[in-house]
Symmetry: C2
């Protein structure tokens, strides 16, 4: 049982900019573990990867008048047109994004990067963008995996990356109401570190935690690995300040209300297409005194899933609850430290955080249910291993790409009664499509983010990159999306829509839903400068 | 401790239409208890009430062609133009609504009442309404207290009450996902009775429970007395089917997702202005085996409020949690059976529902916290008394009106750090305004619907009706709304906007919020036939 409240992975400082062609902090990158290398070679063979292309960016396409205007707003030190600044804000971190970056395709690079200091400067940038008809891409941590940073530039007088990195203050803490107001540029660890000074935490730990930003969490309806205990990010938000082309918009009169539709839920998930979030007021919690993560083994995925469902429908939610299928368990992908070891059955990670009394009581109750359903306790080692590696999978992906193996993830959510069919159909679609050219694929899955009525399914796919990896993956991803849509499930549980999922959105929210999104966008952003081509069908 | 799962107040059958000038079931109405009568006489004197005016309604203002069209859709048995049918669907059940009805003012009566059988008939009525430019008021249980049934008729070729009473099926139960799909015309007890056949429940018990409808719960973002345990109605909804003038709209791919903004939250709270909800898929729970409600006494409102906040911020939520202030406790208004008895301090009602094990564990933990904070346990009698009378206050209001005393309620919500100021300011505004003419008022309050970050404040006001009760209350209500708005709180935690709160809505959601509501309405209801004048500023 861990009694320190700030595990190293949580509050370590991380660089605020990632490598343009890889995940995260170059200093944290590691070569492929030998054991994993062996497995990969067995499955796909190993290929040399081409050297990184050294490309030149297209010339800056905005006028000097625009640049002068931006400098007048944010100051000359915060308007950047150098190649490095533009390259670092080109697209996000999906595998296709990395493949394009590795191939030297920087076609989506912004013309200019502006870093406003506060809400008023953001508003002024939007006004300038309206005046000159510039497309504006709000930029947080740059961790998007659904093409949300690849705005359309056709028809615009330039593409501006609106980097919110300087809006990085903890504006207010209300320890009576247990709320805090955070600026959008704060990275996950920075926000947690500022809150920890008050003995508080947010508890939002998506895999992108180390680099993603508060604004991004809000704009994409993010959900973290501890969502069972701390809730989704949209459940944490009680207030928002938004800069729109039509002016400032503030929301957040109360924890909940009946004053018409909850418009906060219209800003959450709006992916920068309706406005730029300049402050977020969130519910916070006391820092947990105790964190304990443990492993449980199930003979089958179905038995494990039934156990998860039983827990959540009994009101007995651990802080962390996730279940790897047989394939993911076999590869130990849930525990990067253990890759290469033999594992059978299905590994469940169960985590409890809180006061010693809370953890003890909840752990005892959960243990009783899980043991009663036939689970085998594996102790804390698998849990500690998972917690240690919980943010590292994207580094592993880079190492795999280095040896010619394409790794990508996709996720969805559905109701419990539909999980089996959705699981089978998405797996089948991926295996069929990636096997169509005589290749093969490893498809792994885990269940996480449990709700009383359903859960999310998170797939990891590995396949030989081959000669045309973008096209190959594009076909597989489309097949998976079609299977998701055919099952009536969601196109994304926590990765958002971006440009990648946009073609499937209308099937989920209906033509009227799409029409409503267009109407809201037209109202708040009449000239369409905000993230054009993202989200709104 | 009660072990029966269906308390009489819960599942008793109630008439599906209420008295046109009073709350609920005439058979359930009781004269003012003697003790209360004495108190009232002491405070305000007693006045005779004028006999109910026997007024004639305005002639039916729609054309024969419209009536023929409606009959062709719903069948001749389900299109009503008789006085009684129109009178029963005139406005809702706010005290001003009752005063107008008692005074014979039926100016908001619909021209015709149509009772479609299903989604397709609802859609056909909307198409007819668009064709003839008829205003359409969706009608559920008729319990609205914010003027949501008093649509504007100017500029329309007639006013149609679209009564959803025949859409009253339990369409589907999914016991794996623990969801159920309900039609909107089901009254609270009807829905619970149908679910109880499967051993399930919804757990949504607003004071209007016996007469309000599922569609109304959804359209107004209702919150019930057991919201601490079962959640707000908007938290229960996972899927919606809506008939709009532009066609059918279905939402609900998953428990939660990141596929753009959660558009379900745009339908919830839309008060019939965006579309007509024709089916609602809700999360359900197993019927509780045990229900226990108990009383706790606090020396002061502040101490009791701190105890509530401590519980919810510790993750220790009872199913029911409410706290009366000194005035409400003194009058025993939380316990209608005990009115007239002496009581001091502040009464808290704490209720637990669930399995015996759940109730025992939660009750022990809650008891430890409350006792540690200085609360005095009062045992189960006050809890049972509250549970017995929990739906009866509106009957008491009628009895008070009968003797010339105006009783009305209003409610709001805010964050914990703002509760004290909001409480003081709303009380002061009401007392000041109602005392301005030399009169006096009793202002009572309870806290309920607790969240980690705040709670709702529910005020009950009693004052002499006087010569011009509508104007008198109108001024007091406006003063209270101004105080709420000045405190940055919500204009309604669970009564919705209707026409009464509409002038204050823009202050809460901003001009941009109002603009967005207008844009969504224009998109879904381009000719503005749906509940004109309701909700949208």
């Amino acid at each position: 049982m861990t009694h320190d409240t700030s595990s190293p992975t949580t509050l370590d400082a991380h660089p605020r900019e990632m490598h343009p062609q890889r995940w995260g902090d170059p200093a944290a990158a590691t070569p492929l573990p030998e054991a994993a290398r062996g497995l990969v070679e067995l499955a796909f063979g190993l290929a040399d990867t081409p050297a990184t292309a050294n490309v030149t960016l297209a010339p800056v396409g905005v006028t000097d008048e625009v640049l002068a205007g931006l400098r007048a707003i944010a100051g000359p030190d915060h308007v950047h047109t150098d190649d490095e600044s533009r390259r670092l804000r080109t697209r996000g971190k999906s595998t296709p994004d990395l493949l394009r970056a590795r191939a030297g395709d920087l076609g989506d690079a912004p013309d200019v990067v502006v870093r406003p200091a506060d809400h008023d400067e953001v508003a002024a940038v939007l006004a300038l963008a309206v005046e000159h008809h510039l497309a504006v891409v709000p930029f947080g941590g740059g961790t998007c995996v659904t093409g949300g940073l690849a705005a359309r530039r056709d028809g615009y007088a330039g593409l501006v990356s609106l980097d919110l990195v300087r809006l990085d203050a903890l504006l207010e803490v209300d320890e009576v109401s247990m709320t805090a107001t955070l600026e959008p540029g704060l990275r996950g660890p920075e926000a947690e570190a500022l809150l920890a000074e008050h003995g508080l935490c947010l508890g939002h730990y998506p895999q992108s935690f180390q680099h993603a930003s508060i604004g991004g969490f809000a704009a994409t309806r993010s959900s973290g690995q501890s969502s069972a205990g701390y809730g989704r990010f949209d459940q944490m938000v009680v207030g928002l300040r938004v800069a729109t082309p039509r002016g400032e918009w503030r929301l957040g009169s109360s924890p909940a209300n009946a004053a018409g539709p909850d418009l906060r839920q219209l800003v959450l998930g709006s992916e920068g297409a309706f406005g730029v979030i300049t402050a977020v007021t969130v519910r916070v919690r006391r820092l947990p005194e105790v964190k304990v993560y443990e492993g449980w083994r199930w003979d089958s995925f179905v038995e494990g899933a039934t156990a998860m469902r039983t827990l959540v429908q009994s009101g007995l939610l651990p802080t962390v609850l996730r279940l790897s299928d047989e394939a993911e368990t076999g590869l130990n992908l849930a525990r990067p430290d253990a890759i290469g070891e033999q594992a059978t059955g299905c590994l469940m990670i169960v985590g409890h955080e809180g006061t010693p009394g809370q953890v003890e009581a909840r752990r005892a109750a959960v243990t009783e249910v899980l043991a009663g359903l036939g689970g085998t306790p594996l102790g804390e080692e698998p849990g500690a291993s998972w917690a240690h590696g919980r943010f590292n999978a994207p580094y592993l992906r880079d190492s795999m790409l280095d040896v010619g193996v394409l790794v990508e993830t996709l996720e969805t959510a559905t109701f419990w009664s539909k999980v089996d069919a959705l699981y089978a159909d998405v797996r089948a679609a991926l295996e069929r499509e990636l096997g169509a050219d005589g290749g093969s694929a490893i498809v792994l899955c885990h269940l996480s983010h449990v709700y009383e009525t359903g859960c999310s399914l998170y797939f990891t796919v590995a396949t030989a990159a081959g000669e045309q990896p973008l096209e190959r993956w594009g076909r597989a991803k489309a097949a998976a999306n079609d299977a998701i849509t055919a099952n009536g499930a969601t196109i994304s549980h926590h990765h958002a829509v971006g440009t990648d999922h946009r073609p499937w959105l209308s099937a989920e929210i209906g033509d009227l839903g799409a029409s409503v999104l267009r109407a809201v966008k037209a109202d708040l952003d009449p000239t369409g400068i905000l993230n054009p081509g993202v989200l709104v069908p």
